[in-house]
């Protein structure tokens, strides 16, 4: 185990917004090939937890390790901040994120979106990046859409494009922040299919989602958060198939 560093590990993450503590000491360890899903009601802190992993939010306490390397923090008058932003920038390039609202860059075509970070952050040669990007777009079923601008595509197409953008970084870990929540029901299926394929080929993924079927079929671990704490965690057949806490039972009960 010691020779292959763990792709992503966080320990005791605590986060406060003003006086309310939204994350109360959360830990998570993603080994290579793990698919960890975070579930919970809105306000449970699952998205904030995910955003602490790539430091889009700064945790007030706790440690973050990427590929075995610990992120260094320092205390400033604005609170706790990373000591070395260059380290954060380098680390973020290893974790790529897929957002709820896609966040494709509106002034670039889909292809330009996909090659942007590989070329300008990783320093990959442009030609190589384009060839790779075309393969990835083909994979997510958008081979024909390379020259479209985001505004010219449906939400489902944009999200699949965003997944191609994430893949283009050859990430250690992919972070998904409710990737299907902003989509019309009929478009969800295509995006989930792409994500299932990624899980099957052994990608390390951390997924915040409301899609219970996806969580059940694909994850290696499910974490149920409630008010910033882990209420239940474990393999999906245990957590989803045999929930122990009353809260999780209610959460999983059919809503209609």
């Amino acid at each position: 185990m010691a020779d292959t560093p763990i792709p992503l590990e966080v320990r005791n993450i605590t986060k406060r917004f003003g006086d309310t503590e939204v994350l109360k000491g959360l830990s998570l360890k993603a080994h290579k090939g793990d698919v960890i899903t975070l579930i919970g009601a809105s306000g449970s802190g699952k998205s904030t937890f995910l955003r602490c992993m790539n430091l889009l939010e700064q945790p007030d306490e706790g440690e973050v390790f990427v590929h075995g390397e610990e992120i260094r923090f320092k205390q400033t008058k604005h609170g706790r901040e990373p000591a070395d932003w260059k380290q954060v920038v380098r680390m973020r390039a290893k974790l790529s994120m897929v957002f709820q609202s896609f966040n494709l860059w509106a002034h670039m075509t889909l292809l330009e979106n996909v090659i942007e970070a590989p070329v300008h952050v990783l320093g990959k040669p442009r030609k190589e990046a384009i060839a790779h990007a075309r393969q990835l777009l083909e994979r997510v079923g958008l081979g024909e859409h390379a020259d479209y601008y985001p505004a010219q595509m449906s939400g489902g197409q944009q999200q699949r494009g965003a997944i191609a953008r994430a893949l283009a970084m050859d990430p250690e870990v992919m972070l998904f922040d409710e990737p299907t929540s902003a989509l019309d029901p009929e478009l969800v299926g295509d995006v989930l299919k792409v994500m299932r394929d990624l899980a099957k080929e052994g990608r390390t993924m951390i997924v915040v989602t409301h899609e219970m079927a996806f969580a059940r079929d694909v994850s290696s671990e499910v974490i149920y958060l409630h008010q910033g704490r882990v209420e239940e965690a474990g393999p999906p057949q245990d957590v989803l198939g045999n929930p122990r806490s009353e809260r999780l039972k209610q959460f999983l009960a059919p809503k209609h």
Partner: protein, 243 residues
């Protein structure tokens, strides 16, 4: 060329005001106006980019002076700014003996300085608005993909802000063209200066000013169409696909 000249001369034969000579004044005036407007716009544009970035700075000692500069230059008439710089330069003690006088003697340079400072202030505010309206999610994506602040500014924030600023900047260009007419007040022979000269010489206000108004109108339309073309090209990405 010669054929054209004789043709022109024939056309102008029974016209006492629009002789080749007066048309020459207008022509030179056109060149001066275009030079003045173009130069001040270009320099102002170059100044406005760092100013707009600094205007949004967290450090008050950076953002406050820029705010004040914009506030003063946008809140006072360009004519006052022109007078301040023109007379300010002329009346500096001993300036007429220095080498600087060679360039400052002509009113062109003070006018250029005033126009540039003025348009830079307006353009700064235009860019600042465009930068501020960058979609939060796009910035987040840039951060999540490991872009440094500088790279994000250069690749994501500024390119999309420039595009969004285009319509407002088009208005600023037209505004500067029109505002440049006051250059004639400090004896510059721009388009309006030429019109004033022709008016004074022939006492024919309608001919002199309507003619120059028509030229300005044409220039305005040219700028308008240029920016419409640019918007069509550069803002295509904001429109949903047709059909």
């Amino acid at each position: 060329m010669e054929a054209l000249m004789t043709w022109l001369e024939a056309q102008l034969a029974d016209n006492s005001i629009f002789t080749l000579q007066t048309l020459g004044y207008y022509g030179e005036g056109l060149v001066t106006t275009v030079q003045l407007v173009f130069l001040s716009l270009i320099i102002g544009l170059v100044m406005a980019v760092p100013l707009a970035i600094g205007r949004g700075s967290k450090h008050r000692w950076v953002s406050l002076p820029i705010f004040l500069y914009c506030y003063v230059f946008r809140g006072t008439p360009l004519l006052v700014q022109l007078y301040l710089i023109y007379y300010g330069v002329v009346f500096v003690d001993g300036i007429q003996e220095t080498w600087l006088w060679v360039i400052l003697e002509k009113p062109f340079v003070p006018a250029l300085i005033a126009f540039t400072l003025n348009t830079a202030a307006y353009t700064t505010e235009i860019f600042r608005g465009a930068i501020k309206s960058t979609a939060r999610g796009e910035i987040e994506a840039a951060r999540a993909y490991g872009m440094s602040r500088g790279l994000m500014l250069r690749r994501i924030v500024l390119p999309s802000a420039f595009r969004r600023a285009l319509p407002a900047y088009g208005n600023e260009v037209i505004f500067m063209l029109h505002a440049s007419a006051i250059a004639s007040v400090v004896t510059i022979m721009d388009l309006t200066g030429a019109a004033r000269f022709v008016y004074a010489r022939y006492y024919a206000p309608f001919d002199a000013f309507l003619f120059v108004a028509a030229i300005y109108l044409c220039l305005t339309f040219a700028i308008l169409y240029l920016f419409r073309y640019l918007e069509r090209r550069l803002l295509a990405h904001l429109k949903p696909a047709s059909g």
